[in-house]
Subunit: 172 residues, 2 copies
Amino acid sequence: MEHTRWLDEDEQQTWRAFLAAQRLVSDKVERRLQAAAGMPQAYYEILARLSEAPDRTLRMSVLAESALSSRSRVSHAVARMEESGWIVRRSCPTDRRGQLAELTDEGLRVLEAAVPDHVESVREAVFDGLTRDQQAALREAMEAIVAHLSERPGWPVTGDSGPDGPDAARAS
Amino acid sequence: MEHTRWLDEDEQQTWRAFLAAQRLVSDKVERRLQAAAGMPQAYYEILARLSEAPDRTLRMSVLAESALSSRSRVSHAVARMEESGWIVRRSCPTDRRGQLAELTDEGLRVLEAAVPDHVESVREAVFDGLTRDQQAALREAMEAIVAHLSERPGWPVTGDSGPDGPDAARAS
DNA sequence: TAGTACAAGATGAACGCTCAACCATTCCGG
DNA sequence: CCGGAATGGTTGAGCGTTCATCTTGTACTA
């Protein structure tokens, strides 16, 4: 690493707008979801993915990936939601390491009760402020970023620093 | 509230892309800042605002607003950074309720040491994935969202639920 | 000049997330 | 078929954020 590729004026403004929009939107959405349904966005995401899955069941690792969460996060979250009775865990028949997370009826009810207000808050936070063209452009840009970040992302996408420490036994 | 204004297919995809890009970008940037400088993004933001202010000094509330943080967050964060010797707090001469936060020389050094790698990570996460046109469009959309969210935002922008609880003594 | 409303900050508990370990199981090369 | 590496998932400590509350100080109004 030698010299920094600084941001020009335009890029600075773009980055600031990105940051601001990001914070404003997720604050608003998160806060409202918390108030209305008593759960953070990450939990909602998990419940949503499960509800779309066959048998409302997913392996923990698949769940983590599809909800863009680290394994650790999902593990904690599912444990918590199991206590609430929204999810049950069973061990996977074909791979004895694996765990299956299944959405319970109760969990589905809670999710469905949360959806309408959540959707409304997303609309207010994002779409009510955009023209149709702006929305299309936003989508294109976001998808480009995601695509760029999903190929060879420096170190793994999901984080979680690997099974052992940063460099354990990895020599030779 | 009667019927929900659901998201159509296009809006769904836009929202998912927004969420994904948001998570991917802030994960990457946050993680790298933490690794390289040992501070979260929110702290960086605070230090950055202070460094741009006259006398590297800002009132807590102004600092909170300009860093898009809640008062409470800034209070905790500044307390922590004061222990690290990056910031000092003085009471405000003109308003004895107020506190002034000033960036120390040490704090400025730490910030400046953190900047280059942070900027690089932002470039990699965002700008390397976008054409110039996409970047301009992204900026426009983000600014539209921010503008929309900054006027009459339902309840106050910064959060923090007000001086007293949700409805304390407020009756008649 | 009270008295009441409001603003600025601080604070502690609750909570979710991350990081670094750790155990169990499966995969794979010799 | 054995032994090391990789995979799947969990766990606990540490930390930052939020929420509700409190204290102190200012502003407004009667």
